[in-house]
């Protein structure tokens, strides 16, 4: 409480200083008689003509998650068939000569980078789609992307396409196509969130059956391979998969900046949002297309890593207690879940290696349930 107040006071001092220099500051504005009109819980950052609202608690959570993520990254590079001391890991990361360069830099790092990017992409995707659908259960798994990617990939494998350089693109195409189908059916002069989710579920189920049909009728070995892919695995993944994903993420940054602002309005009911001048259809389509692209590309890189897109935003939301799903924190949370999940997947039953998708749900789900139970007992609400 006191910390927040201090922050606000500091922001107000900053504000007062600027206003003073501007020279058109009404005296009554900061007088004790008038309440301070400020979006509570936010800090105002000013830079030249620009001013930005930052959710204060989200900022703190973001910093904490970054520190945790850095720890998980180092731990993940230390642990493996042979243990590498953290100091050596840091030397490799800094590009200094080290005897462990091969193990850490060549074997473990590419896989880790892929995991990080996949986590970021799924975390963002889930946050965008849940925001757009105003539904905590909406995620790329639900609206058809994952199943579209799955069906396309399994079909390609069944028909003899096994090249790991081509398959990711097939999967991306499958995810996008499935989403396109959802849009086509859901669009009726506008995009209603509930219809979008329901049609998505329908298409998901249909594509899921198609995948199972291919698995049962196809070659046994192909089915085995496809099964691993369908669980989501980082095994054998490296820069070949990470590079396209990184490119897409960088290209999407301007759009994500737009989304970070646009989503503020979409948390209202339709009427209130429109009354506030928000172009709801454009915001909905924009947010969901961003989410679909991110999920498709991430699925192409590592397969459908279960639940990350569903869990990460919800966990981030509860940690930040923001009135919206925080984008950056969701991305960091997604990365954290995947990195820790993959660490467990590699080492828990070593030398047997499991797909990361098995563990992301195992790590995230209990934590989310604990958070929900805890928040329910202290305060009602906070489900979306």
């Amino acid at each position: 409480m006191t910390r927040i107040d201090q922050g606000e006071r500091a922001a107000q001092r900053e504000q007062g200083r600027r206003a003073g220099s501007g020279g058109h500051h009404a005296v009554g504005d900061t007088g004790s008689g008038r309440p301070r009109g400020r979006p509570v819980g936010h800090a105002v950052l000013r830079a030249g003509q620009g001013s930005f609202l930052v959710h204060r608690r989200a900022l703190v959570v973001g910093v904490v998650l970054t520190v945790l993520l850095a720890g998980a990254v180092v731990a993940s590079l230390c642990v493996g068939e042979s243990f590498v001391a953290p100091s050596e890991v840091l030397r490799v990361l800094l590009g200094l000569p080290s005897p462990d360069r091969l193990v850490v830099g060549t074997l473990r790092l590419p896989r880790l980078v892929t995991g990080l990017l996949v986590g970021i992409a799924f975390g963002l995707s889930g946050a965008l789609i849940q925001t757009m659908a105003r539904n905590p259960l909406a995620s790329p798994d639900v609206i058809g992307v994952t199943h579209g990617a799955g069906a396309a990939t399994v079909a390609a494998m069944t028909f003899g396409l096994t090249s790991y350089t081509v398959l990711p693109y097939v999967s991306v195409a499958g995810g996008l196509l499935a989403a396109l189908l959802v849009y086509l059916f859901a669009w009726r002069g506008g995009l209603a969130a509930s219809r979008f989710v329901l049609i998505g579920i329908g298409i998901s189920v249909a594509l899921g059956s198609l995948t199972r049909l291919l698995l049962t009728k196809g070659d046994y070995l192909v089915a085995q391979q496809a099964k691993t892919w369908l669980t989501g695995s980082l095994n054998g993944r490296g820069y070949d998969q990470a590079a396209p994903l990184a490119t897409v993420l960088v290209l999407l940054v301007p759009f994500l900046l737009w989304a970070a602002r646009a989503r503020r309005g979409s948390a209202f009911d339709d009427d209130t949002a429109i009354a506030l001048g928000i172009r709801l259809d454009r915001v909905r389509v924009g947010l969901s297309v961003l989410g679909v692209v991110l999920a498709s590309v991430a699925t192409g890189a590592a397969g459908p890593v279960d639940f990350v897109a569903l869990l990460a935003p919800q966990i981030a939301r509860r940690l930040t207690r923001a009135p919206h799903i925080p984008l950056v924190c969701s991305a960091l949370m997604g990365a954290l879940i995947v990195v820790i999940g993959d660490l467990l997947a590699r080492r828990l039953l070593s030398p047997l290696e499991l797909p990361v998708g098995v563990f992301t749900a195992l790590v995230g789900a209990p934590y989310l349930m604990w958070l929900i139970v805890r928040t329910r007992s202290s305060r009602s609400g906070g489900t979306a």
């Binding site: 009109g37 509570v40 009911d269 009354a275 506030l276 009135p323």
Partner: protein, 299 residues
């Protein structure tokens, strides 16, 4: 009263021309003309399903006209960017839903949305408007509280504060007193009238309660079955015949003991069609003729 062609009682920034409104295949309002008088409080009344809320939604571009147009300063609403409309017209829907877990201060600040750009998210003007809105609505002390925890009356004040922070010349309110007890209803309506008097804001409100409408309106519009049956100053148009025509209710119109304006008292209690008319009594909560009588006594 029927056949009264709407005439502009003065300048009008917001107007409807041959407006036809429909949901799916059900036409609710047909060929309606309306001029909203600037700087006045206009109240729309009428029985349930008469199209009053639908009309308000169209005036606030929440509903696209099937035919005809709503004009803002002579330009069709449909041709204006929704954000620009939001800088001129504020609108409070009947049951607005806040973002979950949002605090009062944050919610009121969202009213500034139409004046912001993504690289200008919080200006001096934003701050001034929000603090003024808080002050006028007495919501400053609630700023840190989550909206979910507020009582109905507090919540409505917060929503009105948000609409005020939007700082628009026109304010449309869809039944702003629903769910409120009598004291809070009066409080909200007093606030609305005060805003109009002090700032010259044009207000259009849909109200359920005929007596409240008569009391707070400068310009009263009575609607029935999608048409405007009568409009004008309440003292000029509220008569027992009008109440009979619009609501199908037998009543006596007497001078309001406080304002001297018209006050509708339902009765005689055992009118031949009393049972069916009882459903149409404005004021909602209890229905029946005795409840409005009790409410009038409270005035």
């Amino acid at each position: 009263m029927t056949g009264n062609r709407p005439t502009a009682p003065g300048p009008s920034r917001l107007a409807a021309r041959r407006l036809t409104l429909a949901y799916e295949d059900r036409t609710v309002v047909e060929e309606l003309d309306l001029d909203v008088p600037d700087g006045k409080v206009t109240v729309i009344v009428g029985p349930n399903a008469c199209g009053k809320s639908t009309l308000l939604r169209a005036l606030g571009r929440l509903l696209k006209p099937r035919r005809g147009a709503v004009l803002l300063d002579g330009t069709e609403l449909a041709r204006l960017p929704t954000k620009r409309i939001a800088q001129v017209i504020g609108l409070l829907p009947q049951t607005p839903v806040p973002p979950e877990g949002i605090t009062v201060g944050d919610l009121i600040a969202r009213g500034r949305q139409p004046h912001q750009k993504w690289w200008q998210q919080w200006s001096e003007t934003d701050e001034t408007s929000v603090s003024e809105a808080m002050q006028r609505t007495g919501t400053a002390d609630l700023a840190e509280r989550p909206v979910d925890e507020l009582s109905g009356g507090q919540r409505q004040r917060v929503w009105i504060a948000m609409a005020l922070a939007q700082d628009t010349d026109l304010l449309l309110l869809d039944e702003p007193t629903t769910y409120l007890d009598i004291a809070h209803q009066v409080e909200v309506l007093d606030l609305v009238r005060q805003l109009n008097r002090e700032r010259g804001r044009t207000v259009v409100a849909v109200l359920h309660d005929l007596n409240q409408a008569a009391r707070y309106a400068d310009h009263l519009i009575a609607m029935c079955a999608g048409r405007i049956v009568a409009q004008g100053a309440p003292g000029d148009i509220v008569t027992a015949e009008l109440v009979q025509e619009v609501f199908g209710l037998a009543s006596v119109v007497v001078p309001d003991p406080v304002t001297g304006g018209p006050m509708v008292v339902p009765g005689p209690l055992r009118s031949p069609d009393g049972t069916s008319a009882g459903d149409d009594v404005p004021g909602g909560a209890g229905g029946g003729a005795t409840v409005p009588a009790a409410r009038d006594a409270a005035w």
